[in-house]
């Protein structure tokens, strides 16, 4: 099997609304020959045939055509409700399908997300696409292979057992004569074959009895197949949601309230009509938008009403807002969390911490604080809506198209099967950012003007209004006996909701609410074996700003506190931080990744801090690990701390990663490198700032992220337990988790100063140094 197919895909370009998906062009180069061919789009035809004339509902998961189409030229399409978010799942899921179907992956195309063409396999989040959708697709493809062998058996008048499928061709085992392609067998028809399907979303079970392959025989899964989307992305031929243009489309911009909870008092439209191409203001309660013929006109109009980077006050623009000042003080947000009532969940309750504490030889306490952080997509959120009286079409980059169809059905009072959400990839979102919220923005504007409206947020809309990762307060107490054993461990966290799914436009317009507030989650992956442990989460709803899931929700922060505090305990006991952890772990996979990372790094056993270093620069090493939903990751890093400036530079990173069987090792490496760098950025730089009215970090100067000159010299990756007997757990986010702890521990190793609040900006490092003396 050629594991590096040189396929070049030209993504669909929906330049018009009248000819959606009418053709699908792709170019394929094999063996030095470049063949260009066009195929009749399978998806439109299938969707049309599948459902009633006026319905755009999703295909029936109990039919093979819901998952696969095979065309006469022996090309095929995989349909999946999952979406690509930049992590490479399109290629990974295609590998799984190609493997089971016995089909060449460079002839297999993937249609993702569009609700009228794909089954709802649950949202694409939580590092769960390969883990949950993988087996669904695997079984559907295996069922298709069996169906094709049965078709060939009938054609050859031979038992199916005497036939084999390979590379999209069925032949008779042991002979070189007769063969037939999958395309010939299907003969231009759709795969109208019933398969067993039960449950829904992540829990959907597809063709459970299909004859899936023995993973030890995999030839495509496990290979570094090149990503299908990259050639188009590097040549400007790829169509992101931001690139979609629909016939008759207008451009919209939102004008958000000055204060998060401000009321819209009046709108002065003076001068708007002088802007060439201006169409109208759309106002509904506190929802305000402008619509124009051109993007530039929409931007000019929004600016007149008060949209901008640095609005000067609630009354400074032509839209007048009430003077709302309801946000907590930024520096007091952690006190606010502790005072807010919510739920209490125990993560671990073993022995009695309170009874053990009085007998301890040494007790230490620490408080860890982490701020609001943002997803910070490079491309602001964008969607197009075409809302009619009894139907609606959306073009969107959401990570949950099927859920958004349900939400829009509720908001607009239109049946779900009359709504199509056509999915296109967006700029990476890393969780729930503005991509869901821009959909109702566009819907309200389209409904008001009766034409399709494309809404793209401005940078300050994205920074200011995207749902944030929540701030978290964590208090820890640990006790050691005289031999340096941990005799008590208490870890409590206070966290606002990580899953507020209420929509901004719906709230602003005062419509009946859709979605729910959610509650702060206990994201502590506690795995130590201490005799007395009390680990708990105090979860609450919205506190100040809208919050939702951000890559490895809350577990980036809880891993920071847990793994930095265990380092504090190791230091207090005068022990090597790796050995100290290993003594209190019985999770074999955790032990394996810690040992693998230590071996790759060349870890020598000694306590932190490192022996006294003279001079301006001090070098340190740090280690931490996580169990994130069955994935184990251990990370070690070397840092250099500049004692004069307080600046931290990260030199070398080693990651040992166990997510079971890896579908695409190069794709996984790309993800691990990305997680490391993004989490370094969150560790060193990122903190949302706000006054009592609104977010004040409204651009990249206010919210800096890591730049090229700050990247590590190397990121070495060791894959652990990448073996066929393990399931594929998913690698989209776990390697984010250990980073803040690793850096905090490395800084302590270097200069003996403990950093207990992110981000570790130089001023904060200097302040911690002066406190330590």
């Amino acid at each position: 099997m050629n594991t590096r197919p040189e396929d070049l895909h030209d993504n669909d370009r929906h330049e018009t609304g009248t000819l959606p998906l009418s053709r699908r062009n792709f170019l394929k180069g094999t063996a030095g020959l470049v063949v260009a061919f066009a195929i009749v789009d399978p998806t439109a035809a299938i969707a049309a045939a599948e459902t009633a004339a006026d319905s755009v509902g999703s295909p029936d998961s109990g039919k093979l055509y819901a998952w696969l189409a095979i065309r006469p030229d022996n090309t095929a399409t995989l349909f999946t409700g999952k979406v690509e978010t930049g992590t490479g799942v399109e290629t990974a899921l295609a590998q799984i399908a190609a493997e089971e179907l016995e089909f060449p992956i460079n002839r297999l195309d993937v249609v993702m997300g569009t609700t009228s063409q794909t089954v709802d396999q649950g949202p694409t989040y939580g590092s769960m696409a390969v883990r949950y959708a993988g087996p669904q697709i695997r079984h559907a493809a295996a069922a298709a292979r069996k169906a094709l062998l049965d078709l060939a058996a009938a054609r050859f008048k031979l038992p199916a057992q005497q036939l084999e499928a390979k590379e999209g061709v069925v032949s008779i085992i042991g002979t070189s004569g007769k063969s037939v392609t999958f395309g010939e067998l299907v003969a231009g028809k759709r795969l109208d074959i019933a398969i067993e399907a039960s449950g829904s979303g992540f829990g959907l079970k597809v063709a459970p009895d299909a004859p899936v392959k023995d993973p030890s025989t995999y030839a495509v899964v496990g290979q570094p197949v090149r990503r299908k989307d990259i050639p188009g992305k590097v040549t400007g031929q790829f169509t992101y949601i931001q690139d979609v243009r629909v016939d008759g489309m207008l451009h919209g911009r939102v004008v958000r309230p000055y204060g998060v909870g401000a009321k819209l008092e009046s709108v002065d439209e003076t001068g708007l009509k002088d802007i060439p191409g201006f169409v109208q203001v759309v106002r509904s309660g506190n929802f305000l938008g402008v619509v124009a013929e051109t993007e530039w006109a929409a931007i000019q109009a929004a600016e007149k009403l008060g949209s901008g980077l640095d609005p000067e006050g609630p009354q400074a623009g032509q839209a007048k807002w009430s003077d709302w000042q309801g946000l907590p003080e930024q520096d007091a947000v952690w006190d606010t969390l502790k005072k807010t009532t919510g739920t209490n969940n125990s993560v671990a309750a073993k022995g009695s911490v309170d009874l053990a504490l009085p007998f301890a030889a040494k007790t230490i306490q620490a408080t860890y604080k982490t701020p609001f952080q943002m997803h910070g997509s490079i491309g602001p959120s964008c969607a197009i809506a075409d809302v009619k009286a009894d139907s609606a079409t959306f073009w969107a980059g959401t990570q949950m198209p099927h859920q958004m169809r349900a939400d829009m059905a509720e908001m607009l009072g239109i049946p779900e099967d009359r709504i199509d959400v056509k999915w296109f990839e967006a700029s990476g979102a890393y969780g729930r950012n503005g991509l869901e919220h821009v959909i109702p923005d566009a819907a309200l504007m389209s409904k008001a003007v009766g034409r399709p409206v494309r809404v793209q947020w401005m940078r300050w809309d994205e920074h200011g209004w995207e749902p944030k990762g929540p701030p978290i307060l964590q208090e820890l107490t640990g006790a050691l006996d005289k031999d340096g054993n941990v005799v008590a461990w208490r870890h409590h966290m206070w966290v606002p909701t990580t899953g507020d799914t209420r929509l901004i436009a719906v709230e602003l317009a005062g419509l009946p609410q859709i979605g729910s507030e959610g509650t702060g989650d206990s994201a502590i992956g506690y795995a130590y074996t201490f005799d007395n442990a009390d680990v708990a989460c105090h979860g609450m709803g919205r506190v100040g700003l809208l919050t939702a899931w951000l890559r490895s929700p809350a577990q980036f922060e809880t891993t920071y506190a847990m793994e930095a505090f265990i380092d504090e305990m190791a230091a207090a006991a005068g022990q090597d931080p790796l050995s100290f952890r290993l003594r209190s772990l019985d999770d074999k996979r955790a032990i394996d990744v810690l040992r693998a990372a230590a071996e790759a790094y060349g870890w020598d056993s000694r306590p932190s801090p490192a022996p006294q270093q003279d001079g301006k620069l001090a070098k340190g090493r740090g280690i931490a690990w996580v169990n994130r939903d069955d994935v184990r990751v251990a990370t070690i890093a070397d840092v250099m701390v500049d004692r004069d400036s307080g600046a931290i530079s990260v030199k070398r990173v080693v990651v040992a990663h166990d997510c079971g069987l890896v579908v695409n090792p190069d794709g996984l490496s790309n993800q691990i490198e990305g997680n490391v760098i993004q989490s370094l950025s969150r560790t060193l730089h990122e903190e949302v700032t706000f006054d009592r009215a609104h977010v004040t970090s409204r651009d990249w100067e206010g919210y800096p992220i890591l730049r090229f000159e700050e990247i590590p010299d190397t990121i070495d990756i060791v894959l652990v337990n990448n073996r066929p007997e393990y399931p594929s757990y998913g690698g989209g986010e776990p390697s984010t988790c250990p980073t803040a702890a690793v850096i905090s521990n490395a800084v302590y190793d270097a200069i003996g100063v403990r950093l207990r609040q992110t981000p570790f900006r130089p001023d904060r490092v200097k302040a911690a140094m002066s406190r330590t003396g």
């Binding site: 070049l8 030209d10 170019l27 470049v34 978010t85 930049g86 490479g88 090149r226 990503r227 989307d229 990259i230 050639p231 188009g232 992305k233 590097v234 040549t235 400007g236 031929q237 790829f238 169509t239 992101y240 931001q242 690139d243 243009r245 060439p276 051109t294 993007e295 530039w296 980077l309 910070g376 997509s377 490079i378 491309g379 990839e425 967006a426 700029s427 990476g428 890393y430 793209q456 940078r459 190069d666 794709g667 790309n670 993800q671 490198e673 990305g674 760098i677 993004q678 950025s681 651009d699 990249w700 100067e701 992220i705 890591l706 730049r707 090229f708 000159e709 990247i711 590590p712 990121i715």
Partner: protein
């Protein structure tokens, strides 16, 4: 107010009807229907909108249309095609130096102008050249490797040209 303006993009003249104070990016995306240059911030902070104007990497989101008449503008589409990618584009494919890819237009266009002026850069030179381009997925390691690879390819080709 709107008026006819001619811009030369990827070797061809295009007449657009637009406000001369409006930014080049919108003409490229909305009038010429190009997908390469992206709207990222509109503030010249992230680099997603980068094009090359008369050899210089330029942020099209803050470049008024009136200022580019008579210049030669190159976009990502003007470097190479799917069938025949430019060596820099090929290097990004070979290094698989993309995650979501939204920033990649800016990375490639900035690197193109940079390598044209500095064909034998060190790794630190490359990092410095790309330091004002933001990537959120964390693809930096691969992007640096891709530019290094392209520089090596360029040197090899230059060497061949000299030798031949």
């Amino acid at each position: 107010m709107s008026q006819p303006i001619t811009i030369n993009v990827n070797g061809k003249d295009h007449a657009v009807e637009a406000d001369p104070d409006s930014m080049l990016l919108y003409a490229l995306r909305d009038d010429l229907k190009l997908h390469g240059p992206k709207f990222g911030c509109g503030l010249s902070q992230c680099g997603a909108c980068t094009v090359i104007i008369d050899g210089a990497a330029t942020r099209s989101c803050v470049t008024p249309l009136a200022s580019v008449e008579g210049t030669r503008i190159t976009t990502l589409e003007g470097l190479g095609t799917l069938e025949k990618p430019h060596p820099l584009q090929q290097a990004f494919i070979d290094e698989q130096a993309v995650q979501c890819g939204y920033c990649i237009n800016g990375m490639i266009m900035t690197a193109k102008a940079f390598l044209d002026g500095n064909p034998q850069p060190t790794r630190d030179d490359i990092k410095q050249a790309l330091n004002d381009n933001l990537c959120r997925c964390g693809t930096h390691m691969r992007i640096v490797r891709a530019v290094e690879r392209a520089a090596k390819t360029g040197q090899a080709q230059a060497g061949q040209a000299k030798g031949g």
